[in-house]
């Protein structure tokens, strides 16, 4: 059949409809034969997939955030960007600090409630000083010494007890001109440091929803630049302009896109401090039952979850995953965000990422959409304006915990329900994005399609692909990623429709160690699925590991060892592997059962930040503080759905 005949046949078929395509006359013979050149020989030509992960922190606070300012942060967004870009800055406690390597992108996400208020009190903004409360605080803070400590405490308690002058607070809420100007400055600062191709500064903020001390925060990130971002102001959690209900946040996101024609998304974090309400199974905290709308909206607006950060690692918990010997990593599980309520075991299932991913499968069956179909990232949530997540360069959660000899032995949070000690802060995390270009659009789009992964600080390069016909030969191909994208789906995606006769999904996974970091211990693949009784199940498989080890009789791979010299805060790469990779087939696949798979990569043990502190300050490490840590990466999952 010649091209001409085919064209005529198509045209004939189309002429039966009234489509516009029917108006297109078939091309003359031979004209189409040159139009499609087929795959280029050179694998580098016409490349349309990302070649290197772009590293960033999606969650950083500056002195614009009330709590950061209250604890002494004096660094504005400008300094945060300079630091992220690799320049040396002086921290709020006067210490010079610099990243080992620049980041590729940053989201300054200050709390939208009361943004800018504390900084203006500190500098005595005239409009504020007409309020007696503010004038008193200003005088105290400016006087220094004991008076300023008293003023800070006064300020903090006024805010936490809701005893702030409402008229004054309204100045720093949506609706006031001052707030709009503040937001414009935030947008302008991001614009000034946004350099497409070299460094991306996103425009964003944090929506700080708290339900009786239970954490429901989300970071909101815009894909857009100032033209669209300036048409709105951030969404707060304080009525009447704001709300603590995520449904209202999603309405705000919908309105933003409708109004500006832009794009926006939200990333929740710290489910571990939500006392069970972050990932509900049946009903929201207020009793509203989950419905199709909730599931569909959450699926749409929250494509990612920040699974690891300074206030605890949120991937897994030993109570939920008793067979996972690595699930007890940096868990913060004594209570909610302000420890106003203690934690009980029944809450845990609504808090951790792996369990949420499993719940999502069950809810999808029930309601039609998966509200917890999220990719995973890490970020710091640092309130020092410094995006530090490395163990040997950790500047803590807020200014009061910047390096000093006693920072690990002070309680970080304490009341009658329990306490979290300073040493429990985690030197975590970072987000890696597989985007083709270092631009807002490219990185945002990668976040939207979940082609991202999180680490607890180090920069391992991790690739993960799922398909139906990957082979060992594919692993040996010169550029395996080409095959990965051609024959399968990358992390964050869905497995393609199962071909006739395919017995089980196949996966390819690589990890390269951080080039200036520690060797790798192993790669694991975590599988979660919905079994025939509608119960969720999970299993962790060791799929690739270093050195000559073999699983024991209990099915567990022996630990990789430990070269950490705690006294000198040192380790050696004499164990572990600089890179690991493997081809893996699911040995327990049932095509009728929904499932997800994600990769977890573990490093060999390295000194924890507390060990570096002990070494540098010449102090003893308290007995309950572990001297070493095994840093890790979590990729976004790949989902499998049976044909309906």
């Amino acid at each position: 059949m010649t091209t001409h005949t085919v064209a005529l046949a198509i045209a004939a078929a189309l002429l039966g409809t009234t489509s516009a395509l029917a108006q297109v006359p078939p091309p003359p013979d031979g004209e189409l034969s040159g139009a499609y050149t087929g795959k280029a020989y050179s694998p580098y030509a016409k490349r349309a997939f990302p070649e290197r992960p772009l590293w960033g922190d999606s969650h950083l606070h500056t002195d614009l955030s009330m709590d950061a300012g209250l604890f002494g942060n004096r660094l504005p967004p400008k300094e945060a960007y300079r630091f992220a870009r690799g320049e040396e800055v002086v921290s709020s406690t006067g210490q010079p600090v610099r990243l080992s390597r620049p980041l590729d992108w940053l989201v300054v996400a200050d709390h939208s409630d009361g943004m800018g208020l504390i900084g203006d009190i500190k500098t005595g903004k005239p409009e504020l000083l007409s309020y007696e409360q503010a004038a008193g605080w200003y005088e105290g803070l400016a006087a220094g010494g004991d008076a300023s400590v008293q003023a800070s405490l006064d300020l903090i308690s006024a805010f936490s007890q809701g005893k702030v002058d409402p008229e004054m607070f309204a100045l720093y809420s949506p609706g006031s001109k001052l707030y709009k100007n503040l937001w414009e400055k935030v947008v302008a600062d991001a614009e000034a440091y946004n350099e497409p191709g070299r460094f991306t500064a996103f425009i964003g903020f944090e929506w700080t929803s708290l339900i009786k001390g239970n954490n429901m925060h989300r970071v909101v990130i815009m894909r857009d630049g100032p033209v669209r971002a300036r048409q709105v102001v951030p969404f707060t959690m304080t009525a009447p302009q704001g709300s603590p209900d995520p449904r209202d946040l999603w309405k705000y996101l919908t309105d933003y896109e409708e109004l500006t024609n832009g794009e926006i998304l939200a990333i929740p974090h710290n489910g571990n401090l939500s006392n069970g309400i972050m990932f509900p199974l049946e009903a929201q905290w207020n009793g509203t039952k989950l419905d199709e709308t909730y599931a569909a909206l959450r699926n749409k607006w929250e494509p990612l979850y920040e699974a690891t950060q300074i206030k605890g690692d949120g991937e897994a918990h030993p109570f939920l995953s008793p067979d996972d010997e690595f699930a007890d990593y940096e868990n913060w599980d004594i209570g909610n965000l302000d420890v106003s309520e203690a934690k009980s075991d029944d809450m845990l299932a609504g808090e951790y990422a792996r369990e949420a991913l499993k719940r999502g499968l069950a809810i999808e069956t029930r309601l039609g959409s998966n509200p917890y179909k999220f990719g995973m990232i890490g970020s710091t949530d640092s309130h020092t304006s410094l995006a530090t997540a490395e163990e040997d360069n950790f500047f803590g959660k807020h200014t009061g915990y910047e390096p000093k000899s006693d920072r690990m032995s002070h309680p970080f949070m304490e009341n009658e329900n329990g306490k979290i000690m300073g040493w429990q802060m985690v030197g975590s995390g970072l987000a890696a994005v597989w985007a083709q270009e270092n631009t807002r659009e490219s990185i945002f789009d990668a976040m939207q399609r979940k082609e991202v992964y999180g680490t607890t600080g180090p920069r391992m390069a991790v690739r993960f692909f799922g398909g139906w016909n990957f082979t060992e030969q594919d692993m040996n191909s010169r550029i395996p990623a080409v095959v990965g994208y051609e024959k399968g789906s990358p992390m964050g995606g869905d497995l393609r429709a199962r071909p006739e006769g395919a017995e089980a999904p196949t996966f390819m996974v690589w990890a390269l160690r951080d080039p200036i970091g520690a060797n790798l211990d192993r790669i694991q693949i975590v599988k979660g699925w919905l079994d025939e009784d509608g119960n969720t199940r999970e299993k962790v498989y060791d799929v690739s590991w270093s050195d000559d080890r073999a699983p024991g009789d209990d099915g567990k791979l022996p630990p990789v060892g430990n070269t950490v010299d705690a006294e000198n805060a040192n380790w050696t790469n004499s164990i572990g592997a600089s890179e690991l990779s493997t081809h893996w087939v699911d040995p327990n696949f049932d095509p009728t059962q929904k499932a997800f798979y994600y990769a977890r990569v573990l490093e060999i043990p390295t000194p924890r930040w507390t060990t570096y502190d002990a070494f540098r300050y010449g102090i003893d490490l308290p007995d309950d503080v572990p001297p070493s840590t095994q840093e890790r990466a979590y990729t976004s999952p790949i989902w499998y759905a049976p044909e309906s």
Partner: protein, 285 residues
């Protein structure tokens, strides 16, 4: 440069401008004339200052830090008195720090009157070339020799590979697989370092151009490399970094003007430092 522009550059002109502005203010505020005033830095005051430092830092200041603290104290005193003379302290709420800050704002406003000329920017570029220089860019290919590959020793494998390369084998098909690009074009040396490790990136600067060489170590193992082209680390043209230089210049100017103004104002005071304090600050030099 025009005469006017040259005039505008003169710091003294700025002081006259400030003086004129403040004079205008003072005419409406009618301050009293004040004789030459003494600022006396006593041992007691110095001790207080050091104690405050120690309370924050849990250790006494070093001699350098101490000297800076004393300087800071004198600066504060000078500017505070100047500000008071001008009646800047009328409002009860505004205290010492705020007055000094206000004075600084005035000088900052004046410093913004000046625009840098290209000559000044070029001087900064030269003086701080380290900061502004653009990293080397390298076009190269590499073949990875994984430590996991146990077929023969590494010297043998290299020899074999070199022979095969010489006889025209495609380098893309040789060596062990690794998730790193097998070829990079005009890659920034910093980015090579981020992907392969700093040792590899540095080694690429030494390799011959146009032929296969090695082995070169990376964070993952050994490589044979072939550098095809290499641009040296270079200082950018003025035009390339003009905006950045202007921004940095303005920051520096602001600081410089503050220092100059302070020196000028200090001449209105006789500053006496107690001998013990003097000795402690001198220990810093």
């Amino acid at each position: 440069m025009s005469k006017f522009a040259r005039v505008l550059r003169e710091p003294l002109v700025h002081f006259f401008v400030i003086g004129f502005v403040l004079f205008g203010w003072s005419v409406t505020h009618e301050p009293d004339p004040v004789p030459l005033d003494e600022i006396h830095v006593t041992a007691g005051q110095a001790e207080n200052i050091a104690m405050l430092f120690e309370r924050t830092w849990k250790r006494p200041p070093t001699s350098t830090e101490f000297a800076k603290l004393i300087d800071g104290h004198i600066r504060e005193e000078v500017l505070y008195r100047e500000a008071k003379i001008l009646g800047l302290d009328r409002d009860d709420v505004i205290i010492r720090q705020r007055m000094v800050q206000k004075y600084d704002f005035l000088t900052d406003d004046v410093s913004a009157l000046r625009q840098p000329d290209d000559g000044e920017l070029a001087a900064i570029l030269q003086a701080e070339s380290e900061r502004y220089s653009i990293a080397a860019k390298i076009t190269f290919q590499h073949i990875f020799l994984s430590p996991k590959n146990t077929e023969g020793d590494i010297a043998q494998r290299i020899d074999e590979l070199l022979i095969r390369l010489e006889t025209g084998s495609d380098p893309e098909l040789l060596g062990d697989p690794i998730d790193l690009p097998s070829r990079a074009e005009l890659a920034d040396q910093k980015r090579i370092s981020a992907a392969f490790g700093p040792r590899f990136a540095d080694a690429l600067l030494e390799q011959p151009i146009g032929s296969w060489s090695g082995p070169v170590s990376s964070a993952y193992g050994q490589h044979l490399v072939r550098v095809e082209a290499r641009s040296e680390r270079r200082l950018p043209d003025l035009a390339e970094v003009h905006a950045r230089l202007e921004r940095d210049w303005q920051n520096a100017e602001r600081k410089k003007l503050r220092v100059q103004l302070l020196e000028r104002l200090k001449q209105n005071y006789r500053i006496v430092i107690d001998p013990e304090v003097m000795k402690a600050t001198e220990a810093a030099s």
